[in-house]
Symmetry: C3
Subunit: 422 residues, 3 copies
C-alpha cells in the first residue's frame, strides 16, 4: 500500500502512543540482544534461511555467533522480499544507524561488530524501551519460572499452561509441579489445589494473564470429578486418556482464571512438530480443518472469564470476528504468527473494525523473544492500521483524523489496560 | 475505501434503480417501526450491546421502550466503529432528519420522541417505500402464516421450511401442519400430499420462492420411499432418525419446487444456539468445517430447480463462486449475516463478478425485520458495488460508466425479476 | 484495479521477459487452434455457457465447428463480466486483429472465418510463440504418450501419474503399463521396476517434472512392502484397498522423483465428477474440508524432492504459504483453476511475496490446451503482479522500479529455470 500524507500523519500520531505489549517471550533476565546473532537467531530468520536452502550446521550451539550471522545473511538475498526482512531493516536502521534500505552477506562482519558495541552499552535495555516508546511488556512464564529479581511492573508475568494441560503424563512435569507447589497431583482435588497454588503465586507477583497454545483438534469439555480422579490416578505409556486429562486440566485452569479474575489467552490452532527436522521453533504449522465452535462449551460455561483469542489464519479470523461479535467474553487478540504479515493483518483488521465492538479488540502484541523486535513489529502493525483507518474511516468522512487516532489508541493501549487491569 | 467522483456518480446511478428486495423478515401487518425501539431492538444492536457489556435486563418485554433505547444507546460508544452503527446513522439521517455523523447516549430521549412522531404518521409505510425506492419486498412465511389482508404484489410471500425439515418430530409442528392442510403426515405419501397442499396454497397467493436455513453438518440425500415411511411412522424421544427424516422432507420440498417452478433459497451454514444465553436471535454462529460439496447430490438431482445459495463466510464464498460457475442451477445470493460487512462483501463480490455469469447473481437482499433497514443495508451494498465496478471495470477501461451501471442493474434488479419471475 | 503510469511501465517490463511455461496440456502434435472453435471449445467457455443456460447439444462431436461457435457466442452476453471473457478479447485482439473491447453473437461468422484464415497459416505455431514471447512450455504426458516427433527442448515432457496412482485397479491401465514397460505389475518389486522404467524413458526424452492432481481426501503415507505386495496381488470389484494402493504407488513415484531428481508437481484438492452431467472437463470442484497437513509425512520423508504445490482456494493458499515458509522442499506454484482469477491471484500473491522466500515461488503457468491461451493468461497474471509490485514494493519505497522487475523476473522465469533445471 502506498504511503501518503494522511497515512504518514496517522502513523506519526499512533507511534506517539506508549505501548503496553500484552504478549511476548522476553526473558526478563536477558531482555535484549547481545549481538546481531540474537536478532538473526530469531526463528523467523533461521526458518526462512533454512527453507531457502541453508543447512542447519550454522545453527549448532558451538558455532561462533559471527559465523552464524554470516551464514544467515549469506542466504538473505533469497528471502529479502519478506515482511520479516523488513523487520530486520527496521532494527538495523533504528538501532544500529544503518542507512540503506537493504542488507546483504557482505555486511555481516561490520554489522556484527557494530551490534556488539551498541547492544553492549550498559543502558541498552533502557535505550530500547525509549526508542520503542514501550511502557510495559508481558512475559510468558513456565509455571515454575522465578518471578523474582526483575521489575514486574515493567515485565508483567503471565502463566503459561501448555505443559500442565498437554504433558502432565510426563514424570518431569509432575515432579516440577510438586516441587513448586508441594502438592503431588493424583486426583481432582490435588489437581485443583496445585493449580490454585500456582495462581496464588503468580497473582501475588503481579501476573495479569494466563495463556496457552492449543492444537487444531482440541475441544475442551467439562469432565466430571470422578473421571478426573481416574485419569490422574495413573499414567500409562500409550496414554489413552490424554484428551480427557487435557480437558480436565484446562477446565480447572479456566475455573482458576474465574476465581482469580485473570484473562485466559487462547492461542488456537497450532500443530506442533509438523516439519520434524525443522529448525528450533520452525517445525509447527496449522490445519484449516478446525473451528472455534469447538470452544462453545467453554465460552458458555465461563461468562465471567475474558478470553483473548488468537488464531492462525484468515478464515479462522472470520470465525473469531463472529464469535467476538456474539460472545461477551471473547476478545480478538493480535495477529499471530502465520497471520502476522501485512496482507493478512489488513484484511483481518478490516473485518474486526467493521464488526466487533472496539472495546473488545486487542490490536497487537509482539510475541518477541528480544526487546529489539517490539519496535519493528508494532511499526508494521501501525502502518497497516493507519492504512485501514485512512481508507475505512477518515477518507469516507466517518471519523476525523483525531477521532481515528483515538480509535487506534483504543486498540493499541486502552483495551490492554482495561482487559488486563493495568 | 475513499469516495471519489466516479464512485459518487456510480452510487447515484445505482440508487436510482427501483429495488425488489428478494429476502426479508418483514411482518406485512406491521412492516414499519413504531419507535426507535424497533430500530435498536434489531438483533444486530441488541447482540452488539450485549457483547460489549450490556446485561439482558433492558431487553425484557416489560421494560418501557424508551428505557431500552437509553440502555442500548448507553453502550453505543463501545461499538460505534461497526458497519451496523453506520446503518443506524443512515436511518437517523434519512428518516429522522438527524444531521450529525454520530449519536450517543445523550440523544436517546430526543430521538425516541422524534421517532414516535415520524414513524407514527399515517402514511409512514408509503413514505419509507418512496425514500427507499423500494418496489417489492419478499417475506419469509411460516407454512401456516396467513397470506391474506396485505398486498402480495408488494409483499411477496415466500414459504419458509425450516420447521418442516428439522422439527417434524415436534407434535406442535405436525399439528399445525395437519390443521393447515387437513392431512395427518404418517408416511411418504401423506408427507408429499401435505407439502403439495402448502405449495398450492402459497403459489395461489403469489409466493415466488421457497426458503430454508441449514446447519453446517447437513448433507441432503435421496431417501427411498420405504425408508421415509419408516421414519414417519413414529417419533421417539431421542429421535435417532432425525437426519434421515430431514433429508426426506427436504428432498420432498425440492420435488415440489420442481413441480411448482419455485426457486429454493438455501441459506447454508448456520449453527443454532451456540451462545445459549445470548440475546434473542443473537445465539447462532457458523462452523468452517463444512463444504458445498455436501449438496452435490441435490444439485445433480434437480437440474430444473433454481437454487439461490447464501453462505456465511468468505471461504464458503469461494466454494459458492465455483459451484455457480459450474452448476447451471446454482445462483449466488446476497451477502448474509456474518458476511454482510463491507470488507467481506467487497472481496466476495469481486470474485463473483470475475467468475460467475452475471445472469446468475442475486446481488443483495436486506434480511430486514423492519422496512427502515432496507435503505441503509442496500446503501452499504451499493457503495461497495460502486467501488468494485469502478476499480475492476471502469478504471481499467473494460466498461464505460453507463455499462457498469447496467451491470449493477442486472445484479440489483434484473436477475431478481428473471429468477423469481416477477 | 485502475491502471496508472507505474503499472503500465511494470507491465511492459514484465512482458519483455521470455516465458518458460511450466505447466500446460498442449498437444505437441497439434499445439495451436485450427479455428475459433478450438478457442471457445476450451472448458472455461463451454462450462460458463452451459452454466449460463446453454444446452450441451452444440457440444456434440458431429456439430459443425461454426455452429458451436455461434452457440457459445450466443450466450456470451451472459458471462461477459468474467475474467475468462477478458482472455477471449485478448486473443481476438492479439491474434485476430479485433479492435473492439467486446464481442457478441453477431460476430460469430466473421470471426470464425477470420480465425480459419489466420490460424491456418503455415507458420502459425511459430507466430504464436513470438507474439507470446514464449521460449518453452511444459506438457502433461500420460505415461504411455509418445515422446518422439517433436522438439522436447521447446515442448518439455512431464510425466502425469494420476492414472497409475488412482486407477491401477482398471485392467486397461495395467495393460497399458505392461505394454509400455514390459513389466506386469503384481507386487512391490514389479511396481517399482515398472515405474523406474517410465522415469528412465521420460528422463531420456528430456522430461523435467512429474505431476499429479489429487483429491481433497488424499493423505499419502508410507506403505510397507508386504502390504504393497498384498494390494497388488489382486484387484476386486469393490476395491477396498484403493486408498492403500494409491499411497503405495504415489510413494513409489516420489522415490523415483528422488532417484531421478525430478520435481513432483502436486495439484491438490480437486474432486472429480461433482457435477456429473457437466460439460467435458466442467464437472470438477473442490472441498474446503482439507489441509496440507495431510502431506506432512510426505514432505518429511522426501527432503530431497522438490514439490511445487498448487491449490484451489485462498484458504488453502494460506496453508501453502506457511508450508513453503517452513518446509525447504515445498514450493508455491501458480494460481490454479478456481483460484485463477485476478482477485484471488492478487490476495494469494501478496501473501506469498510477504512470507515465502522469493526463490521458492513459481509465479504462474498457463494450464493451456492450445498455445493461444498462454498470452492472455500470463497477461492477466502480469497485470496483477504489476499492481502488487507497485503497491507493496515500489510505492512504499522498498524497491526501485528496476528491482521490482527483477523480483518479477524471478517469479516468472528464473525460479522455473532453477527448479526444473533448464
Ligand atoms: Zn507467543
Ligand atoms: Zn433471513
Ligand atoms: Zn493442468
Amino acid at each position: 500500500m502506498a504511503a501518503d500524507k494522511l497515512h504518514g500523519d496517522l502513523v506519526a500520531a499512533l507511534t506517539a502512543i506508549p505501548l503496553i505489549d500484552p504478549h511476548s517471550h522476553i526473558d526478563p533476565y536477558a531482555p535484549t540482544s547481545r549481538t546481531l546473532d540474537d536478532i538473526l537467531g530469531y526463528h523467523y530468520y533461521t526458518e526462512l534461511a533454512h527453507s531457502a536452502g541453508m543447512s542447519q550446521a550454522p545453527l549448532a550451539a558451538d558455532v561462533p555467533p559471527v559465523e552464524r550471522v554470516r551464514a544467515i545473511l549469506g542466504h538473505i538475498d533469497r528471502f529479502n522480499n519478506t515482511a520479516q526482512y523488513r523487520w530486520l531493516i527496521d532494527i538495523l536502521q533504528s538501532f544500529l544507524g544503518w542507512e540503506s534500505n537493504h542488507v546483504s552477506a557482505a555486511d555481516a562482519d561490520a554489522l556484527f561488530a557494530k551490534s556488539e558495541a551498541v547492544f553492549g552499552q550498559a543502558d541498552w535495555e533502557q535505550q530500547v524501551f525509549e526508542k520503542t516508546n514501550l511502557e510495559k511488556i508481558f512475559l510468558t512464564n513456565e509455571f515454575d519460572d522465578s518471578l523474582e529479581g526483575f521489575d514486574t511492573a515493567r515485565y508483567v508475568p503471565c502463566l503459561r499452561t501448555d505443559g500442565l494441560v498437554f504433558q502432565l503424563n510426563l514424570p518431569v512435569i509432575r515432579e516440577r509441579l510438586a516441587k513448586r507447589t508441594g502438592i503431588q497431583v493424583g486426583d481432582a482435588a490435588t489437581l485443583r489445589a496445585a493449580i490454585r497454588k500456582l495462581f496464588e503465586h503468580f497473582v501475588a507477583h503481579g501476573a495479569r494473564a494466563c495463556a496457552i497454545s492449543l492444537p487444531p483438534s482440541f475441544t475442551p469439555v467439562h469432565i466430571p470429578s470422578a473421571e478426573i480422579d481416574r485419569v490422574l490416578s495413573g499414567f500409562e505409556p500409550n496414554d489413552a486418556d490424554a484428551a480427557v486429562r487435557a480437558s480436565a486440566v484446562f477446565w480447572t485452569i479456566a475455573e482458576c482464571c474465574r476465581e482469580f479474575a485473570l484473562p485466559f489467552d487462547l492461542m488456537i490452532g497450532v500443530n506442533r512438530r509438523v516439519y520434524r527436522n525443522g529448525v528450533y521453533q520452525g517445525q509447527d504449522l496449522f490445519d484449516s480443518r478446525t473451528s472455534l465452535v469447538q470452544y462453545q462449551e467453554l465460552f458458555n460455561a465461563f461468562p465471567d472469564v475474558v478470553f483473548p483469542v488468537s488464531v492462525l489464519s484468515s478464515f479462522q479470523n472470520q470465525e473469531l470476528v463472529s464469535h467476538s461479535w456474539i460472545f461477551p467474553n471473547v476478545i480478538t487478540s493480535g495477529h499471530w504468527w502465520y497471520s502476522n504479515i501485512p496482507t493478512y493483518i489488513a484484511s483481518d483488521l478490516r473485518a474486526r473494525l467493521q464488526a466487533v465492538p472496539k472495546t473488545k479488540q486487542i490490536g497487537y502484541y509482539s510475541d518477541a523473544y528480544k526487546l529489539e523486535f517490539v519496535r519493528p513489529k508494532f511499526g508494521m502493525y501501525r502502518s497497516v492500521l493507519a492504512h485501514v483507518l485512512a481508507d475505512e474511516f477518515v477518507r469516507p468522512g466517518i471519523l476525523s483524523e483525531t477521532q481515528a487516532v483515538e480509535l487506534g489508541r483504543q486498540l493499541l493501549r486502552e483495551n490492554v489496560r482495561q482487559i488486563f487491569k493495568i
